[in-house]
């Protein structure tokens, strides 16, 4: 059952990626990318990372790709003509995925050799053991050692990790995004003022 879900969503992700490259219509390509994101989200959820999976759909499929499609439609782009490739680009397109494949194979060989990778619920014993790292009154501890239905509190765990271990990088990233946003506003305002002088 679980592995069936894995293959389904993996197939969805790969098919979406393949269609993204092969389809000629920009809107079709964008939708194929959405399909790929949904497949990826399914894989995350299968690994008990509900929060990451849902955010994958919310941010990428629900917001970013909508903006992509919005722009494509507004510009009314036509079908792409098949481009001629240089030998060097084709070679790069073959070599880089091969390197990645070798790396993945290496990881598989060294890490999970002989072990059946789980794609199901985490068992309760593991959760109880890992709960000991957290204070007893915290939401994470309560969720992990819940009497009737213990659950992996992945959202709380992500929040815990980000705000405890990586608080400073998070603040820096926030400042970076703010600067980028202000920069975009300033740039767009400047071009807006110039526009009347052109006409």
């Amino acid at each position: 059952m679980a592995s069936f879900a894995f293959y389904l969503f993996a197939l969805l992700a790969v098919a979406g990626g393949g269609l993204l490259v092969t389809l000629r219509n920009p809107v079709s390509s964008a939708l194929a990318m959405v399909l790929s994101f949904v497949g990826l989200a399914g894989l995350f959820i299968g690994l008990n990372a509900y929060f990451v999976g849902i955010v994958q759909i919310l941010v990428y499929a629900g917001a970013i790709m909508v903006l992509f499609i919005f722009i494509i439609m507004l510009l009314d782009l036509n079908d792409e003509k098949p481009a001629k490739f240089k030998l060097s680009t084709v070679l790069a397109g073959i070599v880089i995925p091969l390197l990645l494949l070798v790396q993945i194979l290496g990881v598989i060989q060294s890490g999970l050799h002989g072990e059946e990778a789980e794609f199901t619920k985490i068992d309760e014993e593991t959760m109880k053991v890992s709960a000991k790292e957290f204070p007893k009154e915290s939401a994470i501890y309560k969720s992990l050692t819940h009497e009737k239905s213990p659950k992996l509190p992945d959202t709380n765990l992500i929040g815990h990790t980000i705000f405890k271990s990586y608080n400073f990088p998070l603040q820096v990233m926030g400042a970076l995004l703010l600067v980028a946003t202000i920069g975009v506003v300033v740039l767009s305002k400047r071009s807006h003022k110039k526009a009347p002088t052109d006409s």
Binding site: M1, A2, V27, L31, V34, Y50, F51, I54, V55, I57, L58, A61, G62, A63, V66, L67, I69, F70, M73, L74, A139, S143, K148, S149, K151, L152, P153, D154, T155, N156, P196
Partner: protein, 422 residues
């Protein structure tokens, strides 16, 4: 994967999707009758079985008033000619209605309809999927329905549907931000994303928006409200009410309901994004809108108005886990949802349509900022026990300065551009 789980899940899917679909058709009759009452008309108050077309003398009138009107409407949609214009982009034209309905129905999966049933050792939560990311799941899946409307506009390959699609796209993205930000104070208060737990919290501590009663009955004479934190809980009502207003309005915009139904604005765009659609494909858009409305009402009820909790302290008296209690709770939940749907209808026939720039200003300049400030306001109130009175005062002073500055900037942004600039 155990068999009872699968059986329970299958039954729940069938029943809850069935409830949603029947609510969609009930919505239609509500909408028509309620609008008729508002406009001092009669409305569809009788539906007849047309025996006359079979050669009988008279049509058969049913004694249940206009309640069968949705059936007649549905039949009409099915029997109409399904016409596909020759100039449309066929694949997307067919895909679009499906993309509107499916997300709207999928979001129903995480709504807790009633209190969990207990059969021996097994507890069956009355939500199809008892996820730990409930509200996020709804936002994520609901944000996919924008593809349906946008694609419908684009695939129709004609002018007015395209405008409708573009409008829908921009509007839904804008209001998703307000929607997501406005719900943060609520989630901070509950400290979790599981909708089932959120409702149970409200059963024991009072509804979020109406903390008038808890498990022990009304506030008066109940131990919980004698505690010193009662002032904090009452202060928290301010950010919660702001949240509620922003959230409800954003749901209106997300479902393309009346004050914000610019994408299908009849006076400007013929029929908007579904101009080229007919028959069952049009009906799917219709169903998607109403299903989104039902889910939106269900979500508002779950987050702010206690979900399936009866209130008045009755929940504490009833035994937990009995199947009949669950059924009562489901009934209470559906009653609340019905009231909210009536509220949706009332607003539709009361408030006139916004202009498009007003819509965008409201979303980006008013709601976005208000929701952001509201997050900090709620955080200050919630953090009171740990940072003390002085910390809250300093925070409140800073927040006031930021708010005043923001209002100044926002006023500058909403000023109408001078005639020469246009």
């Amino acid at each position: 994967m155990d068999t009872p789980f699968i059986i329970a899940a299958a039954i729940k899917i069938a029943v809850f999707i069935g409830i949603t679909m029947s609510f969609v058709s009930i919505c239609v009759i509500f909408e028509r009758r309620f609008s008729a009452i508002i406009q001092d008309r009669v409305g569809p108050n009788r539906t007849m079985i047309p025996l006359s077309i079979l050669g009988f003398k008279k049509d058969l009138a049913l004694p249940i008033g206009g309640l069968t009107q949705p059936v007649a409407d549905g039949l009409k949609f099915i029997l109409k000619e399904d016409f596909t214009p020759s100039y449309v982009r066929k694949f997307f034209f067919w895909l679009a209605p499906v993309l509107v309905v499916v997300p709207a129905l999928l979001t129903m999966a995480v709504i807790p309809f009633g209190s969990p049933m207990e059969f021996g050792d097994t507890i069956i939560p009355m939500a199809i999927a008892d996820l730990n990311v409930g509200p996020l799941f709804i936002f994520a899946i609901a944000s996919l329905s924008v593809y349906g409307i946008t694609l419908a506009g684009w695939a129709s390959n004609s002018k007015y549907p395209f405008f409708g699609g573009v409008r829908a796209c921009a509007q839904m993205i804008s209001y998703e931000i307000a929607l997501g930000l406005s719900v943060i104070p609520v989630l901070m208060y509950f400290g979790g994303l599981n909708l089932g737990h959120i409702v149970e919290d409200q059963v024991t501590n009072g509804w979020l928006l109406l903390p008038l009663w808890n498990e022990g009955g009304f506030i008066i004479g109940s131990g919980y409200w004698g505690e010193p934190l009662v002032a904090q809980r009452l202060l928290l009502l301010i950010p919660i009410i702001i949240s509620f207003v922003i959230f409800t309005t954003s749901i209106f915009a997300e479902t393309n309901r009346m004050p914000f139904d610019l994408p299908e604005c009849e006076t400007e765009l013929v029929g908007g994004y579904h101009t080229e659609y007919s028959s069952m494909k049009f009906a799917l858009f219709f169903m998607g809108e109403y299903a989104a409305m039902v889910v939106g009402s269900a979500l508002i009820v779950t987050l702010f108005l206690g979900g399936w909790s009866i209130g008045f302290g009755i929940d504490g008296i009833l035994p937990t886990g009995a199947w009949w209690v669950s059924l009562i709770h489901i009934g209470v939940f559906l009653t609340k949802v019905t009231f909210f749907i009536l509220f949706f209808v009332l607003v539709r026939w009361t408030v006139p349509r916004f202009r498009y720039d007003q819509l965008m200003n409201l979303g980006w300049i008013v709601f976005f900022e208000a929701a952001l400030i509201n997050v900090f306001l709620a955080a200050l109130v919630i953090a009171y026990p740990s940072i003390g009175g002085l910390g809250v005062l300093i925070g409140f002073a800073l927040l006031t300065i930021v708010t005043i500055l923001l209002i100044k900037v926002a006023k500058g942004a909403t000023q109408k551009p001078s005639a020469t600039a246009v």
